[in-house]
């Protein structure tokens, strides 16, 4: 299977092409974001409805990680 290289919080990661950013983050077991009161959160509905998996992708904050396939060179930042 084709691999692409992305970076999550600066850490390089090789993942299969075609997986979602959410699935890539889960490989590192990071929380995706902190809620307004600071709770750790991660992907929940898996289909773009709940917005729990929002992260910063290529500089743009508040993107749903479960809706975006990984791309070569992608820079992902979680809330941690």
């Amino acid at each position: 299977m084709n691999q692409v290289r992305i970076a999550i919080n600066g850490q390089a990661l090789d993942v299969p092409a075609g997986i979602s950013v959410a699935a890539a983050i889960a490989r590192l077991q990071w929380p995706f974001r902190r809620s307004p009161r600071g709770q750790a959160r991660a992907a929940f509905c898996g289909m773009g409805v709940c917005f729990e998996c929002r992260v910063r992708i290529d500089g743009i904050a508040q993107q749903r990680a479960c809706m975006v396939p990984v791309r070569e060179g992608m820079q992902v930042m979680t809330d941690e």
Partner: protein, 373 residues
């Protein structure tokens, strides 16, 4: 509460629990009046909920400035209450050209005359304060002590305080003002002086006081903390706010304490549905992108509309209703009702109590409408 021929009686029956009605209820109950508040909908659910919640002194009308300045001092008692979300972000008026920049000293002088501190800043300072602003702006005027609040939270806080002092909330509609007081939807009669604070709905109970509705749109983003730091307005804002065009937009953007960005503002006569007009939203956003291009890639979560109550001359009606001995009014604040709510309440209630008001009440006297008729 007292009883009069089996009818509940109060010193003051306040119709409407927006920020004006609740401010009146709070102050009246503090002064020992027995108060009833009539509100069929959510507390602070009308223009109060649609407002930006910017506490601001506008210098272009002396009476408006006096009332705003009086009120801003009263707001200082509410800075530490969580549900009000008071955030002293300051106001930054942005000049896009030399002509606007040249007007700033006169504005600073008018504000200084009533004790509001403001400073002119050049473009270097402007970009140090707000790096996200579009390049090429001339400078601006900073009013550091101004703030933003959450208006429905304030209305609830004021109502809760009034109720804690014994004020009674009637969650229904007032159908008529009677010779003794007010009749409610369920035919209950309440006796007492009546104070109408129903904003745009004023003509339903007091058709003799003209009121127009001026629609506005607001857009709020997801959380993007640190993009902007001050409430940002274009110096041309007053032209939009005070002009009488059928519709206008102005750059008016606010950092919420949550990190969200609240984007205004539009003004529109002649639209009476609360529906979102996408063409109005587009005009408003185009305007804000000109000043703050970084907005373009941020996500909007919600858009809402509201109606500003506009009196015949743009100043609120505050005081006794002509030829109606026991009927009072506090309504018609247009876009400044949040800022001027606390001062408006004092002005009306102090007059009701027969006291001398802290500022001259004449410009707001509803009797002036007679001369307009």
């Amino acid at each position: 509460m007292g009883h009069w021929l089996g009818v509940k009686s109060y010193d003051l029956i306040i119709v409407g629990a927006g920020i004006i009605g609740t401010a009146c209820a709070d102050y009246a109950s503090r002064e020992g009046l027995r108060v009833a508040i009539i509100e069929p909908g959510p507390i602070g659910g009308g223009a109060t909920a649609a407002a930006m919640g910017h506490l601001v002194a506008m210098d272009d009308d002396p009476a408006e400035l006096a009332l705003a300045n009086y009120s801003l001092a009263l707001w200082e008692d509410f800075t530490g209450i969580e549900q009000i979300e008071y955030s002293r972000c300051g106001t930054l008026w942005v000049a896009s050209n030399e002509a606007e920049y040249a007007h700033i000293p006169a504005k600073i002088a008018r504000l200084a005359a009533v004790g509001v501190q403001a400073e002119r800043i050049d473009s270097d300072q402007l970009y140090r304060l707000e790096p996200a602003l579009q390049r090429g702006l001339t400078g601006g005027m900073r009013v550091p002590r101004e703030a933003v609040v959450y208006p429905p939270g304030m209305a609830r806080h004021l109502l809760n305080r009034a109720c804690a002092r014994g004020a009674a909330l009637y969650p229904q509609r007032a159908t008529a003002i009677t010779s003794h007081g007010v009749q409610l939807e369920d035919r209950t009669g309440l006796a007492g002086s009546v104070l109408v604070a129903t904003g745009c709905a004023l003509p339903q109970l007091l058709p003799q006081l003209p009121m127009r509705s001026r629609k506005g749109h607001l857009v709020i983003t997801d959380r993007y903390p640190g993009v902007i730091h001050h409430q940002l307005l274009e110096l041309g804002y007053a032209d939009s706010a005070h002009g009488d065009a059928d519709s206008s937009v102005a750059f008016n953007v606010q950092p919420r304490p949550t990190g969200q960005i609240l984007i205004g503002s539009s003004r529109e006569y002649g639209s009476d549905t609360s529906e979102v007009s996408m063409s109005m939203v587009r005009r408003m956003l185009e305007r804000s992108f000109r000043y703050l291009p970084a907005l373009r890639q941020l996500n909007a979560l919600r858009i809402w509309t509201g109606f500003r109550p506009v009196s015949v001359d743009g100043l609120p009606y505050l005081g006794r209703v002509p030829e109606r001995p026991n009927v009072w009014v506090a309504a018609g604040h247009e876009g400044l009702g949040i800022t001027t709510s606390l001062g408006s309440a004092r002005l009306v209630i102090d007059q009701w109590l027969g006291r001398t008001t802290a500022i001259n009440a004449r410009p707001y006297d509803p009797a002036r409408v007679a001369t307009w008729a």
